[in-house]
Assembly symmetry: C2
Homo-oligomer: 149 residues x 2
DNA sequence: TTCTTTTTGGATAATCATTCTCTAAACATG
DNA sequence: CATGTTTAGAGAATGATTATCCAAAAAGAA
């Protein structure tokens, strides 16, 4: 069983547990989220699904995303113009956004994050329940392309 | 000269440098930003100013905020529903948002932030130009109020 | 100063992501 | 199959933000 299939089953399981009807639209969205490497927004999900399901509505995308968010199976990333979604790593983790190519990259695998969280809790007596960390700049491949040009 | 007056003069200076007209509306907004301890959003600024300047428009607030953002004198904090603004610390710094009382607190004075930035640049070969870090949770005073209750 | 030309502040209208509402379809039960 | 209940999802509404455009202010000519 591949990673994305495990993810897909997990999404379905949570929807079922909640007693939601597993319609073809919802199944297709869950699959798309589980196979998406990037971090699509609602419109991108909509446009992709519309080719196979011409009658699907944007509101259905939003409502199902909200369900999956509430079940902790999808992470919402609030950006300036809209929200993007991560269906593979539904826990808080840093994201790197390239201002050249627009890519939204995962920035987990940083050790110093736990230290930062601890320092915040200690310094400010603040009890953290969740965080959102976004870095804006230029990604590795864009930097390399620039250098070799 | 108080801190907020220094800040006020700095805002005015940048608007002048840019060749902007220093209207009463703009002066009032600059002053309000410089004396605000919290992190108001556009509507809050609007409502506050409207008592003294009944003809001011929300669009004027937004346009002046954009000017000051471009001049690096105001930091915009993108949150889920709207943007909030910091006219006193216009450089990126962490914010702590309390889900009980709604306060948006400054979370500068954390040493581990530079380590995190360095780790991101090294691990991912990403060139950071700016970041936004928001912690959600419960603030110190709300925790204390809860304990003593 | 007075008239003309140019700039731009800011009120109003438009936009667009997101949410609300309500109908029609799916489900359960007898 | 009939009848009552739930809910998916299409279309309408909302609300923060942005674009447009007119009037007022500045600049320049005479
Ligand atoms: Mn991610
Ligand atoms: Mn701040
Ligand atoms: Zn890039
Ligand atoms: Zn609080």
């Amino acid at each position: 069983m591949t990673d994305s299939e495990i993810r897909y089953q997990s999404l379905l399981h949570k929807l079922q547990q909640r007693g939601c009807r597993l319609t073809s639209h919802r199944l297709a969205l869950a699959r798309l989220l589980s196979i998406s490497e990037g971090h699509p927004n609602a419109s991108q999900l909509y446009e992709t699904l519309r080719t196979q399901f011409p009658t699907i509505s944007l509101a259905t995308i939003y409502k199902t995303l909200t369900l999956l968010k509430e079940e902790g199976e999808v992470l919402e990333i609030d950006l300036h113009s809209d929200s993007h979604y991560d269906g593979n790593k539904p826990y808080p983790h840093p994201h790197l956004i390239c201002s050249r190519c627009g890519a939204i990259l995962d920035g987990d695998s940083v050790r110093s994050l736990t230290a930062l969280n601890q320092e915040i809790e200690q310094t400010y007596g603040f009890h953290i329940s969740r965080y959102q960390l976004v870095f804006y700049g230029v990604c590795q491949s864009c930097l390399q392309a620039e250098r070799s040009a």
